[in-house]
Amino acid sequence: MNGIPMEHGLILASILFSLGLAGLMLRRSMLFVLMSLEVMLNSAALAFVVGATAWSQPDGQAMFLLVITLAAAEASVGLALMIQLYQRYRSLDLDAASRMRG
């Protein structure tokens, strides 16, 4: 992979990560929160891939596979939680579920 410098890839990854993080902190709807989480996971995965390509190491690719698996598992748990949330509160607003308040 020539042409695209590693920095560009990393900058893209950090932009994605920041967007995801901002979404995580700002969004109330659990659906968007889950999506933001996915974005963040994928940005990290992108950073691995960029690194692996730059140094021609296979480890990064392996990590990418791991991240995808993790994201899938996370999505299934998250979606299950989301269904529960909706059934309990009839909304996807995360702030509604604040019964752990001290």
Binding site: L24, M25, V33, L94, S98, M100, G102
Partner: protein, 622 residues
């Protein structure tokens, strides 16, 4: 245990107490009276036996060693000598007559068993007080009589005032007792013993006359005597103590317990002779008390309070005698005073019961024809109280006191004594006139029910009346040999002059009283009801306002501090760590708001801080 008459004399009342206390009311009023009176009667007989078999030397009966740790070896031991026997005779003899009278006085009262149990316990404790041959056993009796006094003043427990009077009597005397206890600690530390005879022999060896330690020890013992004997400034409990039944006032607050202070100082005479300054103080306190109390007695309306103040005044005479070193004279007056004051109190009791518990002089009057026995008792007792020359017992003992004061060259004390004699005459006449003469002040006084019982009503009064005349004075054996020489021994002549003065004072008092109360009555009432006269009356009525003073200075601050401390501020301070922990808890709980997003924010913030720290700290990441 050796069974000697002395031991029996105090075991009988103790057994009486125990039987009464454990009878749980099964004995009935009659049975309780028989046991209560009988036990003291037996004690009196045992005392008589002891007196007759007494050889003249001090006899020590050690029952057992109380405590034995190192040098501290107080015993339960009895010291029998003339002084103890005289006191025992007074306690059991007068005590028996008063118990007998109580059988009449207390008829129909609830809790008669309790009454006799306390009275017997009192006799027992008082006997231990005078018999104890060491100071700790004396202290046992000393506190015991205080407890009995508490129980008997509060006998009518339903009145809260009675409970307060009992409480006050106990606490005020307890203050004195603490001084006595400190005196005991000092004596034991310095002399290494509490045995009275040994203390008296060691004291002059260890202490120089007038040394600070001797003064301090005498002063502390004096503190105890002041409390028990109701002398200024620890006297305020005595008038209130009249809340108890009248036989109690007669026995405890006139004849015996209040004279315990006199006994104590006379017993420890050697200690006091080493402290001349304290001796002077004793005399001065006596003089002050006798005058204060005499003035206060002038302005009382309750018969028993008049008698209470007169008791305080007469004890003042005894202190005066002690103060000039005339121990024998003090004991002499103690004995005659026990006779005539018991007589006065019992006569007053007869009046009170006959008039359905009316004891306000303003509501009595005109009783002399209807209550001849009580009237006779008052006349004879009053005569002894004012020291009517030659025929009364009080004359001989009071004359002796004044003569010793004169011989000791204490003219101030002598003048106080003479002035007191004048005042005594006035208040006694006022008491007799107010109670028995004039117009009856209420229906109760118009239709009295005189006591008729020969044994329980007439006999005690008559016997005490006989003892209050010169016969009582003759019976006193004289204890000169037991005490250091009184000042009068060394002085020749002058006694006649003193007698003239004393008789003059008595006559002056009586004449003044007669003139005031018989001839100038309206004028007197007029003066006493307005302007300065009224304030003076009020001042005397409240006995110079000592109660109000102590209320301000001691009682209120005490109550205030109790109220302030009630919630245990030290504990509240100790709760501070708990409060701080709770504060932290409140703060941290706030951050736990249950919102996932804010947790995320905090997490990001934390992660950022850590990353920044790692990046910025030199050598951190590199």
């Amino acid at each position: 245990m050796m069974v000697t008459p002395v031991v029996l004399s105090f075991l009988f009342p103790l057994m009486g107490t125990l039987v009464l206390a454990f009878s749980s009311g099964r004995l009935g009023a009659r049975g309780s009276s028989v046991i209560g009176v009988g036990s003291v009667g037996l004690a009196a007989l045992a005392t008589l036996w002891a007196v007759l078999s007494h050889t003249g030397d001090r006899e020590i009966i050690t029952l057992w060693t109380w405590i034995s740790v190192g040098d501290f070896q107080p015993t339960i031991g009895l010291g029998v000598d003339g002084l103890a026997l005289v006191m025992m005779a007074v306690i059991t003899g007068v005590g028996f007559l008063i118990h007998l009278f109580a059988a009449w006085y207390m008829t129909g009262e609830a809790g008669i068993t309790r009454f006799y149990a306390w009275m017997n316990l009192f006799v027992f404790s008082m006997m231990l007080l005078v018999l104890g041959d060491n100071l700790l056993l004396l202290f046992l009796g000393w506190e015991g009589v205080g407890l009995c006094s508490y129980g008997l003043i509060g006998y009518y427990y339903q009145g809260l005032d009675n409970a307060r009077a009992a409480f006050k009597a106990f606490v005020v005397t307890r203050i004195g007792d603490v001084f006595l206890a400190l005196g005991l600690f000092l004596v034991f530390m310095e002399l290494g013993t509490l045995d009275i005879a040994t203390v008296l022999t060691r004291a002059p060896e260890f202490w120089a006359e007038g040394s600070a330690t001797a003064n301090l020890a005498a002063l502390l013992v004096l503190g105890g005597a002041l409390g028990k004997s109701a002398q200024v400034p620890l006297h305020t409990w005595l008038p209130d103590a009249m809340a108890g039944p009248t036989p109690v006032s007669a026995l405890i607050h006139a004849a015996t317990m209040v004279t315990a202070g006199i006994y104590l100082i006379a017993r420890l005479n050697g200690l006091f002779l080493l402290a001349p300054d304290v001796m002077l103080l004793v005399g001065v306190i006596g003089a002050i008390s006798l005058l204060l109390a005499a003035f206060a007695a002038l302005a009382q309306t309750d018969i028993k309070r008049v008698l209470a103040y007169s008791t305080m005044s007469q004890i003042g005479y005894m202190f005066l005698a002690l103060g000039v070193g005339a121990f024998d004279a003090a004991i002499f007056h103690l004995v005659t005073h026990a006779f005539f004051k018991a007589l006065l109190f019992l006569s007053a009791g007869a009046v009170i019961i006959s008039c359905h518990h009316e004891q306000d002089m303003r509501k009595l009057g005109g009783l002399w024809r209807k209550l001849p026995v009580a009237y006779g008792g008052f006349i004879v007792g009053g005569a002894a109280l004012v020291a009517l020359p030659l025929v009364s017992a009080g004359f001989f003992s009071k004359d002796e006191i004044l003569w010793q004061a004169m011989a000791a060259d204490r003219n101030g004390l002598l003048i106080a004594g003479l002035l007191g004699a004048v005042l005594t005459g006035i208040y006694t006449v006022r008491l007799v006139l107010g109670t028995f003469h004039g117009e009856p002040g209420s229906d109760h006084a118009r239709h009295p029910e005189p006591g008729t019982n020969l044994i329980t009503h007439h006999l005690p009064l008559v016997v005490l009346a006989v003892l209050s005349t010169f016969i009582g004075a003759w019976l006193y054996p004289g204890l000169g040999g037991l005490f250091p020489d009184a000042p009068g021994e060394a002085v020749e002549g002058g006694h006649t002059l003193l007698q003239v003065l004393a008789i003059g004072a008595v006559v002056a008092g009586l004449a003044l009283a007669g003139w005031l109360f018989l001839m100038r009555r309206p004028w007197l009432d007029d003066v006493a009801s307005k302007g300065a006269g009224a304030s003076l009356w009020k001042l005397w009525h409240h006995a110079w306002g000592f109660d109000a003073l102590f209320d301000r200075v001691l009682v209120r601050p005490w109550q205030w501090s109790v109220r302030m401390l009630r919630f245990d501020f030290i504990n509240l301070i100790m709760n501070l760590p708990a409060l701080i922990a709770r504060g932290f808890n409140a703060g941290l709980v706030r951050s736990q708001n249950g919102r996932t997003r804010s947790y995320a924010v905090v997490m990001v913030f934390g992660a950022t801080v850590i990353l920044l720290a790692l990046a910025l700290v030199p050598g951190g990441v590199a």
